[in-house]
């Protein structure tokens, strides 16, 4: 069964004990963010705040829709306790099929129940939260889906970028300069000094939000993948004032134009790496032209910060599968890729069939070829379960030679400026460095000198293993 929106997904979450409705009045100014943040850190439920100070009944905020693996599993129609590996496999398989979206009429689109255009626009109608103390402003766009289009090819891209309420009818935001949104703007709109249509979609179905975090290739359509993963086409509807299609069941759609010749400050903001570091900048300025929204709208929020949260979990899934595809396309003998949420996409685990210096170097080359969001890569042999961090750490500690097993690559103009350990000077120029830790046995070693792992499955014969397992109960062991 495909979820059309957050509302039908929340019914399932509630049934599974994964949703808490908060009816006590809460303050959008820090309190909601603090509750959301603490709930993540306690691995608590998705939250639906139903009574927001200063705002009429019906205007709601949610936090943590897919902030745990259990809720991601439910969003994909899997059992709540599905292992992470199974979730990865289901997502990977789901990407094999694309289903084109279905365009519906405006009168049938729930996101058009209410419309504000021109002078009517007032972003303060929504309880945009001040999420962290000391943030640059109120972020209406955190768990969002931002739609842009290449006017020459017609390619529509979805991405997830933060957007802040600047005034009642202006947003500022900070898509990274290496993002696909920035690419489209710089290629198609900047040369002509034209504003770029942008739609900020809040609260569509959960799979589409997860897909908005996916580093798909240029010209690939998240909408088609959303259909494939959900098993049915996503319904889209034309915007009121700009030439874009948006999910028809979204809670809120903000239509605007990203200006080519105007900027305004954005940030700072407590970002996905888990720190508020160097995130104050000259942001993009978006003039809002229309806002459409459902009655009793839900503003989907993530109180971003230390992992795990929706961002680190979604990125773990989407980034890992994209990386695996990319590495395999380069004929690197990958068995699997895991992006531990605790590493906030700064740390990647790559399992390979054949290890060694050359393979490790090729892995590093792949991750530093173009836009770079990661910086540490541990390459392990295929007998290491990449999803088991205890096994990965053991391999790293015991097989990565400090002298010959570590390779670096420095670069400029392409690094991730949200990475906390970069200095302000490095951040200004997007200067960075990535490293690979070769935690594999050298392939040139003869088999007879490769150390045998002293584990039950590897240092005992099959007969001894079977005897022990068969008699386990007789030993009085559980």
């Amino acid at each position: 069964m495909a979820f059309k929106d957050h509302r039908d997904f929340f019914e399932v979450l509630e049934r599974e004990g994964e949703l808490a409705r908060i009816t006590q009045e809460v303050d959008w100014d820090l309190e909601v963010g603090a509750i959301g943040r603490r709930t993540y850190e306690m691995e608590g439920p998705c939250l639906l705040f139903e009574n927001i100070k200063d705002y009429p009944k019906g205007f709601r905020i949610s936090n943590g829709t897919t902030g745990t693996w259990s809720r991601v599993a439910l969003s994909m129609g899997l059992p709540r306790k599905a292992p992470v590996r199974e979730i990865y496999q289901a997502y990977e398989k789901g990407l094999e099929k694309k289903i084109p979206p279905r365009i519906i009429k405006k009168e049938n689109a729930p996101c058009k129940e209410n419309v504000m255009i021109g002078d009517q626009i007032d972003l303060y109608r929504f309880p945009s939260p001040m999420i962290h103390e000391g943030d640059g402003g109120r972020y209406i766009g955190t768990w969002d889906l931002v739609v842009t289009k290449d006017p020459e090819t017609g390619w529509t891209n979805w991405g997830m970028y933060r957007f802040m309420v600047h005034t009642k009818d202006w947003l500022t935001g900070w898509p990274q300069s290496t993002s696909q949104l920035a690419f489209t703007f710089n290629e198609r709109y900047r040369p002509k000094n034209q504003p770029m249509p942008v739609a900020l979609v809040i609260g569509t179905d959960p799979i589409s939000h997860i897909l908005a975090t996916a580093p798909l290739r240029l010209q690939e359509s998240e909408a088609e993948y959303s259909g494939g993963l959900r098993g049915e086409p996503i319904e889209l509807v034309p915007c009121e004032t700009i030439d874009l299609l948006v999910p028809a069941h979204a809670e809120i759609v903000i239509e605007g134009e990203l200006m080519p010749d105007k900027i305004a400050p954005d940030g700072p903001f407590g970002e996905y790496p888990g720190y508020r570091s160097g995130t104050m900048c000259q942001g993009v300025a978006v003039k809002v032209k229309a806002v459409t929204y459902r009655s009793n709208p839900i503003l989907t929020m993530i109180a971003l910060g230390t992992p795990p949260d929706d961002s680190s979990i979604a990125a773990s899934l989407t980034a890992a599968v994209s990386m695996k595809r990319g590495l395999l396309n380069r004929k690197i003998p990958v068995t699997d890729v895991y992006v531990p949420p605790e590493g906030v996409t700064h740390l990647i685990i790559v399992g390979v069939k054949k290890g060694g210096t050359e393979t490790a170097r090729r892995v590093l080359d792949y991750f530093t070829a173009r836009r770079i969001m990661t910086n540490k890569h541990i390459v392990v042999d295929e007998d290491v379960d990449v999803f088991n961090m205890a096994e990965v750490l053991h391999a790293f500690a015991t097989k990565c030679h400090p002298g010959r097993g570590i390779a670096y690559e420095w670069y400029e103009g392409r690094s991730n400026s949200l990475t906390p350990f970069y200095s302000p000077a490095e951040r200004d120029r997007l200067k960075g460095v990535s490293v690979v830790f070769d935690s594999t046995w050298p392939p040139e070693w003869p088999a007879e000198i490769i150390p045998i792992k002293a584990s039950f499955k590897t240092i005992y014969s099959k007969e001894v293993q079977e005897k022990v397992i068969k008699n386990w109960g007789k030993y009085g062991l559980k």
Partner: protein, 110 residues
């Protein structure tokens, strides 16, 4: 809640907030500044771009407002300032997105 600050006993009106990279970047005098309105209510944190006279609080002129300073990491400056708004400007400045970054990279490569 309005607070009384040391400025000859005057009540300092509205409260505003602004961000600087480092606290030492804030200078007294006539400036153009993006400021956030800290008046409680649903429009709190609304942004204005203003031409204003800013001074450290102890030298605040009468009928000026309070200005709080935060750094680029969101840290609050220990001392407060005063702001007397002279003119409200459009809420943006001329510029191209990511221009600061591209210029920094070009300069380094030159």
């Amino acid at each position: 809640m309005r607070r009384l600050y040391c400025c000859g006993g005057y009540d300092m009106g509205k409260e505003w907030q602004t961000f600087v990279r480092k606290f030492e970047d804030m200078k007294e005098g006539e400036v153009k500044l993006f400021i956030k309105d800290l008046t409680p209510g649903p429009r709190k944190y609304d942004t204005k771009f203003v031409k204003a006279l800013v001074k450290k609080s102890k030298q605040a002129p009468p009928d000026s407002d309070l200005l709080l300073i935060r750094s680029e990491s969101g840290d609050m400056a220990p001392e407060t300032w005063s702001i007397k708004i002279q003119e409200e400007l459009p809420p943006w400045v001329p510029g191209r997105p990511w221009e600061d970054l591209f210029k920094a990279i070009e300069k380094d490569q030159a």
